[in-house]
Amino acid sequence: MNKSLNISRTLVWLGRYSAPVALVLLFIFGAAAVPNFVSERNLTAVLFQYSVIGFLALGQLLVILTGGIDLSQGSMVALTSIVTSVVMSRYGLAAGVICGLTMTTLLGVMNGLLVSRTKMPAFIVTLGMLGIARGLAMLIANAKPVPIKEAGFAVIGKGTFLGIPISALLLAAACVIIHYFLTQRRLGRYIYAVGSSEDCTILSGVNVQNVKLLVYSLSALLTAIGGLIWSARLTSGSPIGGSGYEMESIAAVVVGGGDLFGGQGTVLGTLSGVLIFGVINSMLNLAEISPFWQGTLKGILILLAVSFSLVRRPGESKR
């Protein structure tokens, strides 16, 4: 009796922490088997590349926790980079950053209003917004990339502090804040409640509409920050960039133990999900595996991660 309880406890623990555990195992494997994997150059390169996806995945996590989905992230990265670079070239650094963040967050607020105030599914709302954000970016930039000349701006994309990329430090700070918000604040707990059972949450007197409005706005804000880092790394704004990033952020959340039906997922898991993709990508490249095979390996990895990490709550029927 006691033994079986122990085993099931271990399984639940493994289910909850499967992504961080997998990340550690992968890292050890990489260090042992792949030459040059544990070198300062390689590891900082992974952090530089994946801190953008990290910000997107944090936003995606908030949305997925409520049972929604945000497909507009990739286009929003492009829109942020274009608005920032265009405004920056005329009115300076601060104005560019503020306008980029505001514009994208406004589209996120629109996502939130449409999802919470109408009966439209989140998938379609954000799919429509994917087109709108991309179109706006193309229109503003006239379909051409816009160079960024402000030298100070590139720091958040290329700079390091004590050897660690500044973008990774920003991501770490954002993770701590979102983790605190999700686990310690009442509003954060409401986000889990909405995803677990929307009806119960409504009946408990929570304003579900505003919780949903908040998560879509926050997702856009985090995406905008990711977009700033992305354009700082490229030192230009690109209207065609970022396409498909939303799929990467969704995959990271899901590999990190997030449940697309809502109510399950953690910041630690999501961050591990992002880094798992980063580590695997760098291992595949260092081991000189043909890029054609890389999609197969990543796809199989997603399938394995999902089929092992999904801990079903008892008595639950899912499609």
Partner: protein, 324 residues
């Protein structure tokens, strides 16, 4: 006779006639707008045939997507299946046209079965399964043909003349791609009226109820994924015939476009609601919109924004109050 005709035009099960009427109204409105804005060019027979030909592939894929959405799932791998089928059809022409097509269809159905089994038996969310399958299938098709589009068979031969001529050809004055679409639409509409079709609605409506009613829920669900892959690979035949090559990167836009068409057509992501007719109308809303924009020379830079806005408006007009 009258009863027969009435029966033939009866709307599929699980539909709300008012919903379909609303969608048709949106389409008619768009078409009137297109005619006025283009000063009549839109109604030109050539333009209409062109529009249908251009959207033949998307019509097939939207039907594949429709079946999956009806079960409450979603299929992001439809475009990837079209890509791998097109590559297989071109590469294995040495074995004969029929064998190559048969092989492509078989491989697609096998891949569809993998998704179906993972979704049904392991109870994984179809979004993630088909997202992963999409990556796997695209990567496999690149492995098959070395990453670039293929114009020649494995033995260096040419693509079959008959296949290349098929897309441009016509039968009784109707262009072949339109004929294929009409045939598939009629087959699926009839199919939805069989008891199997009703099972699909039942599973999407309430999986547990269908299970406790003794329906073979698992077999039906897996078979829908296989059927969907089959239809996507038929679309690949049209693709090869149209462009004369197998392309491992094609179809990236197909999943989202087909999902948009199905949803505009009144289907619900929770499953069990939607019609073949609605899907076709939804698809035409998107394609007429594309057609207007190219007739009016709308700069391609703002086309995605207009398309996105129209998707939102169409779905908003179509969404009715549902009890959650």
């Amino acid at each position: 006779m009258k009863a027969l005709i009435q029966n033939a035009f009866k709307i599929d099960p699980g539909s709300d006639k008012r919903d379909l009427a609303k969608t048709v109204l949106i389409l008619l409105g768009l078409m009137v707008m297109a005619t006025i804005l283009s000063k009549g060019i839109f109604l030109d027979l050539n333009n209409i045939i062109n529009l249908l030909n251009q959207n033949a592939i998307l019509i097939l894929v939207a039907l594949a997507q429709f079946l999956i959405i009806l079960t409450g799932g979603i299929d992001l791998s439809v475009g990837a299946i079209t890509a791998i089928s097109s590559v297989v059809i071109v590469l294995f022409q040495d074995l004969g046209l029929g064998t190559a097509i048969g092989l492509a269809v078989l491989i697609s159905m096998l891949l569809g079965m993998v998704s179906g089994v993972l979704v049904t038996y392991r109870k994984l969310p179809s979004f993630v399964v088909t997202l992963a399958m999409m990556q796997i299938i695209y990567s496999l098709s690149k492995v098959l043909c070395g990453g670039a589009a293929v114009y020649n068979t494995l033995g260096g031969g040419e693509i079959n003349e008959k296949l290349l001529g098929f897309f441009g050809g016509s039968f009784l004055g109707i262009p072949n791609p339109i004929l294929v679409c009409i045939a598939v639409v009629i087959l699926i509409s009839l199919f939805m009226r069989t008891s199997y079709g009703h099972f699909i609605y039942a599973i999407g409506g309430n999986y547990n109820t269908a299970y406790f009613s003794g329906l073979p829920v698992r077999y039906v669900k897996v078979s829908v994924y296989i059927l969907s892959a089959l239809i996507s690979s038929i679309a690949a035949i049209l693709f090869v015939s149209r462009v004369g090559m197998g392309d491992p990167n094609t179809g990236q836009w197909l999943p989202l476009d087909s999902i948009a068409a199905v949803t505009i057509g009144g289907a619900s992501f929770s499953g069990g609601v939607g019609t073949v007719a609605g899907t076709i109308v939804g698809l035409f809303i998107l394609s007429v919109l594309n057609n207007i924009m190219s007739l009016l020379n709308v700069p391609p830079t703002i086309q995605p924004a207009i398309k996105g806005a129209v998707i939102l408006i169409a779905v908003y007009l179509n969404s009715r109050k549902k009890q959650s």
